[in-house]
Symmetry: C2
Subunit: 368 residues, 2 copies
């Protein structure tokens, strides 16, 4: 599989154009483009512009309901519940996180949960929204069921990411992790590249471990037994029950608190999704001097980066180091797009009467 | 190593007596005994009455300051910061969690952080306090640094447990997990039993993996390089960076928000501990009908228990199943005490002029 690199700002413009032609307002289109391009700019290829195909397909089959208006169904000074009414995931999620942020600025803490939504992109985008406004941010979402419980072989939980972002120097602490050993997108990347899985990630339908990413694609497409292991892997020896527990935590915070669905009830038919999200912001000035806390946490992370290296290693990262370094390079290098995604984008443009050449401006890519 | 089984209520009485003789009030003694015995009653031997030796030793060397009074240093309707002033960990932690619960009952959410404290026992005790009062409870603590960051070999984080408890049927969802692949106590259990470690848990001082639990004891005692891996294990292949990230999250919530210390600064000299804790309660009626949420989450967990078994497995557990089953049996069976702990308890009794025979009432243990 080959790759090309394209100008990130023009891909953003293209995303806005694609959703404008799908009937979305300028504001909605900007939310969608911001979330997708944030992913590409952070180097998370699986959740960037390659998701345009999923979203346009979801619009075609009615999984994303055109013109759906989300609704605040319950609210207190520290919380809200939003019913997305099957709207596209990004605008309602941006609004929900902003609501959590606004509540936190007044009350110290804000928690907003969303039900009956669609794929919302990277969890980290929403956590980062809070950090960019000087608050601690948390976001989680459930997904379709792709993960097996410890000692089970039926996928009952989603890959259920947890993202946390805390302001600091030289950049926020930024954790964005699936509670499965790997996210589904990583399986897709290995499948596209024709590579064997390098770790104990997957249980096959017959219950045995598998190292073939195509087994994952088949399990997902046919809704068969088997699935991804939780963080910690198979069984309890290396604490797979911990990843499993964290995954259930995400189900509780997203599917249950919102009055929505757990992952085993999400996308059970192709044209109904109904994932649920969780957003939380904390104005940590309720605990003390903000600048002091940011400084101390940044120093701690710096001490870790400078601590003794394991043998054969050249660098210790803390969470966000890779993503922020990628963001700093991307305007120069361009966004990495694989050939399959390129073809999909060209097709979407043709279907909508957009000239792809106007938006797909090639860049040189990373220089050695 | 042999085991005996003792009446749990009399062990509780003994714990109260030991701390009464150490000058603690009845209320403080009950808090300490409640937390220690809750651990034994749940089957978590490492954090039960065997901790009496640690606590009496800590009192002797001044790590736990006798007569220290904790102080609320900052407070809002949704939050508080408590300085424990080096007091024994349980009473201040019980008070902090109750404060979080009381705030949540009024405001929907309560978060209380504690700095400059001592070992507080099982994180799950505090989360369960909220669940027992009909709320969602969360607790975390940092610890002395025993865990290596991904690609590093210097212990920079604690084993940093996260506990979450949510009311339900037949018992609360109850997650209580170290963010390291195993807690330190599990290493001690393997060392006492003379067993080889069954998983990839430990990095030795020279950077190689070790399966000898005595290497862990030596690393801890001599503050050497090496340590326990985060959940997900060594490197990034099976997502060790996720456990590492969760561990940093606990450092942020405990050591940073409280204005206290991160684990690398905890117990750097034997007579100063200064761990920090985090307590949160949520009255989920702010999101909807509580009974409905409890019912739906309980049903989801039951569906998971009844889902397809992995090959060779006989049962799928959800979090809390094992602990609550143990609690139901313990009055009949007694609390499991290993010979070393038994000797330690007898010694503590002798030092304080307590007749151990009055309190150590043997029970039959588990019947086949």
């Amino acid at each position: 599989m080959g790759y090309r690199y394209f100008d990130d700002q023009r891909l953003w413009d293209l995303t806005v154009e694609v959703f404008t032609r799908n009937g979305y307002s300028r504001s909605d289109c900007e939310d969608i483009a911001n979330v997708l391009l944030a992913s590409d700019r952070m180097g998370i290829e699986s959740h960037g512009v390659q998701r345009m195909k999923l979203y346009t397909h979801s619009l075609e089959i009615g999984r994303i309901k055109r013109g759906a208006k989300s609704e605040i169904v319950r609210e207190t000074p520290v919380s809200a519940v939003i019913d997305a009414h099957d709207a596209i995931g990004q605008p309602v999620s941006v609004a929900a996180m902003q609501m959590a942020i606004d509540k936190a600025k007044k009350a110290g803490v804000g928690i907003v949960v969303v039900r009956d939504s669609n794929h919302y992109g990277i969890a980290g985008y929403y956590a980062k929204m809070a950090a960019d406004q000087g608050l601690l941010g948390i976001s989680m979402t459930n997904t379709e069921a792709l993960v097996v419980p410890t000692f089970g072989k039926q996928p009952m939980m989603g890959t259920n990411p947890i993202a946390v972002s805390m302001p600091g120097t030289p950049h926020p602490f930024h954790l964005d992790m699936a509670t499965s050993v790997v996210p589904a997108g990583k399986m897709e990347v290995y499948a596209k590249a024709g590579k064997t899985l390098p770790g104990d990630w997957l249980m096959n339908s017959d219950g045995s471990p598998s190292y073939d990413p195509n087994d994952f694609l088949r399990i997902r497409a046919t809704k068969s037994l088997g699935g991804i292991f939780p963080v910690g892997g198979e069984g309890e020896t290396n604490s797979g029950h911990k990843g499993y527990g964290l995954s259930l935590l995400v189900e509780l915070f997203c599917g249950i608190l919102s009055g929505g669905r757990t992952s085993n009830e999400v996308r059970v038919v192709p044209n109904v999704d109904k994932v649920c999200h969780f957003f939380m912001a904390v104005d940590y000035s309720i605990f003390g001097d903000k600048e002091q806390m940011e400084k101390r946490f940044s120093q701690y992370l710096e001490d870790i980066r400078n601590s003794a290296l394991a043998d054969g290693q050249t660098r210790i990262y803390t969470h966000g180091d890779k993503a922020y370094a990628h963001m700093a390079r991307v305007a120069e290098e361009g966004v990495k797009v694989n050939d399959k995604t390129y073809d999909e984008i060209v097709k979407i443009c043709q279907d909508l009467g957009i000239d792809p050449a106007e938006y797909l401006i090639e860049k040189a890519g990373p220089q050695a």
